[in-house]
């Protein structure tokens, strides 16, 4: 297979994007909170970034970061009251939040309603202009301009993903990560140990939301067009599936989910029709047979005991 084929690069780009999205839901889940509002935060990030980059000529990456922060601020506002709620209620409240955001976006002038925003800058074009400016041209590498742009987008996403993953792993091993874990295991016990449960839950919720917002901005500038309906209940189900299939005990779980669920419809294009059906089966099946997901903390440890250092393969082993 030809890695420089723009088609393959495009698919990998989407895989990486969804992987970051998977990390975002993982972080929220790591304190035991199920948020069904990630599509809503994504849309806030996407529209903020797009409006800034298109109408205010803010540099692309700054716009995407501001989009993420905007999602974070909204998360802060709605998180303060909603995080008091327990389990089911939080899930329903955040689901409701996503729907309300969608309706508001549909009614706003600046988002152009249901028509959404089109003709957004693409990350590939944006980065290629930089590359040209520093004298790095497609011709000098012996590849076409399109390949160069796809490759640039891909490399950018790889780097971004690597940074996010690195930070997440660091987070897991930090004091913060252990606090998250304690809260997930037993909230009452965590509180008894003197942990500021509300603070940590809020923090996890905001980090997850900021990441989702950034993903929204990236999505907007990869597809170059967005409408509020891109972030509807189906998107919620999709994001949730990443965490469900892989499990949310270790970060590799959701990543595995994002990888499989994005790649599979492309590898087996004939099966694309059954994509939603597949999500449904996965949710019912995994919950019935392995409610903690296919990849659990123990899978990971077993793997490491057996073959030390061979990271990157655990996804396959998890099957």
């Amino acid at each position: 297979m030809d890695i420089l084929n723009p088609y393959n690069l495009q698919v990998f780009t989407f895989i990486l994007l969804n992987s970051i999205l998977a990390i975002s839901i993982y972080i929220t889940l790591s304190t035991g909170q199920l948020s069904l509002g990630h599509a809503g935060f994504m849309s806030i990030g996407a529209f903020t970034a797009s409006i800034l980059s298109k109408q205010a000529d803010v540099p692309l990456f700054i716009a995407i970061i501001i989009g993420g922060l905007a999602a974070g601020i909204v998360a802060l506002l709605i998180g303060a009251p909603t995080l008091k709620l327990h389990g089911l209620y939080l899930a329903i409240a955040t689901l409701g939040f996503g729907e309300v955001i969608r309706v508001i976006l549909l009614n706003m002038k600046i988002t152009n309603g249901a028509l959404g925003l089109t003709g957004l800058q693409s990350i590939g074009n944006y980065l290629y202009d930089f590359e040209k400016a520093i004298g790095l041209k497609a011709q000098s590498l012996g590849i076409s301009v399109i390949q160069m742009k796809s490759l640039t987008t891909f490399v950018f996403m790889v780097l971004l993903f690597a940074v996010v993953l690195f930070l997440t792993l660091r987070l897991n091993r930090s004091r913060l990560g252990r606090a998250f874990e304690a809260i997930k295991a037993d909230e009452t016990a965590a509180r008894a140990m003197g942990l500021q449960v509300a603070y940590y839950k809020m923090l996890a919720f905001i980090i997850g939301s900021v990441l989702a917002g950034i993903c929204g901005g990236l999505y907007a500038h990869i597809t170059t067009t967005i409408t509020p309906d891109d972030f509807n209940y189906h998107k919620v189900v999709e994001i949730l599936s990443y965490a469900v299939i892989g499990g949310s005990e270790v970060v590799w779980g959701p990543l595995f989910g994002a990888l499989v669920l994005t790649a599979l419809p492309e590898v087996l294009r004939g099966l694309a029709e059954y994509k939603m059906l597949m999500y449904g089966l996965i949710m019912v099946g995994v919950m019935a047979f392995r409610p903690h997901g296919l990849i659990g903390a123990d899978t990971f440890q077993k793997l490491f005991l057996r073959r030390k250092g061979k990271a990157g393969n655990e996804a396959k082993e998890g099957m």
């Binding site: 909603t82 389990g87 409240a93 009614n107 919950m287 019935a288």
Partner: protein, 288 residues
């Protein structure tokens, strides 16, 4: 216009109440939110509708078919998505996810079997309109209102007075204790899930009559409304579901009539968020 819109709101609202009853019943006994409820009953009523349109069956047969199919789907739900989760020590959100999954399966099945189109409901006696001067009311609107009320009272009576009802309440209180006391809790749960789904089957046919059509995606949209009513009324409260269903319908219709129709879809969830913040146990709920 006010009175006519109020009638519109009451009709819409009583269908919401009927849907919410199913959610309430299952939550009351199992303590879970059945995200597949909407899809299940729309599937059932679509079967009923197809029998009516392509086989010229009478409305009664369609109603029975709708009830039976919905109840069977409820049974399948219990065996695939609910029971396996009761046996293990699973995260408390697992049932929410597995019922979301089941909902998707049913919805996709509907798309494959019935297509994505809306299906018209045949003209029926329900179309007869009474003109009362300021308002016009269709007989189907009256029927829905009446059936919703009757079902609520029957349900209430049945749960409070009959032996099965007592078993259900005992199971709702504490499954393990009920088991020890000799109640076949698995049986109780099966009955509850099937009953809730069958109620949905009734609601589905009535909704088809009220709106003159059924669409597979109605399962999700109406399911969300029922969900909203469940939370608003206080989970597990039957009177809460009834009152808040009607309330939501009226508020939605008045949003359209005197506000901006494009915000209609935000009403249900907007109210949920408000109520969860102000009174998380719902308008009619008991404090946990």
């Amino acid at each position: 216009m006010f009175w006519q819109q109020l009638v519109n709101g009451l009709t819409v609202g009583s269908t919401y109440s009927l849907i919410a009853l199913g959610y309430t019943l299952i939550f009351g006994v199992l303590g879970i939110i059945n995200m597949a409820h909407g899809q299940i009953f729309i599937f059932g009523s679509l079967v009923g509708l197809v029998l009516m349109t392509s086989m010229q069956m009478p409305l009664g047969v369609a109603l029975v078919a709708s009830i039976v199919i919905s109840a069977i789907l409820g049974l399948i739900l219990e065996y695939t998505a609910l029971r396996p989760l009761r046996k293990k020590n699973v995260p408390h959100l697992a049932s929410l996810i597995s019922t979301i999954g089941f909902a998707i399966l049913v919805e996709e099945a509907m798309h494959k079997i019935f297509g994505a189109d809306s299906r018209a409901f045949p003209q029926s006696f329900g179309d007869k309109t009474f003109d009362l001067g300021v308002i016009q009311i269709r007989s189907v609107d009256l029927i829905i209102l009446a059936i919703a009320l009757i079902l609520m009272f029957v349900l209430h009576f049945w749960i409070q007075k009959t032996k099965m009802g007592k078993a259900i309440r005992a199971t709702a209180e504490n499954t393990d204790t009920a088991n020890i006391l000799g109640i076949n809790t698995n049986m109780v749960i099966i009955v509850t899930v099937m009953l809730a789904s069958a109620l949905g089957g009734v609601a589905g046919i009535l909704i088809g009559m009220a709106y003159s059509a059924l669409i597979p995606t109605m399962g999700m949209t109406l399911g969300f409304k029922g969900l909203a009513v469940l939370i608003l009324g206080g989970v597990g409260s039957i009177p809460g579901a009834m009152v808040c269903g009607v309330l939501l319908g009226v508020i939605e219709v008045f949003t359209v009539a005197y506000g901006d129709s494009s915000y209609r879809d935000a009403v249900a969830f907007g109210l949920i968020i408000v109520i969860l913040l102000l009174k998380p146990e719902g308008l009619f709920g008991r404090k946990a």
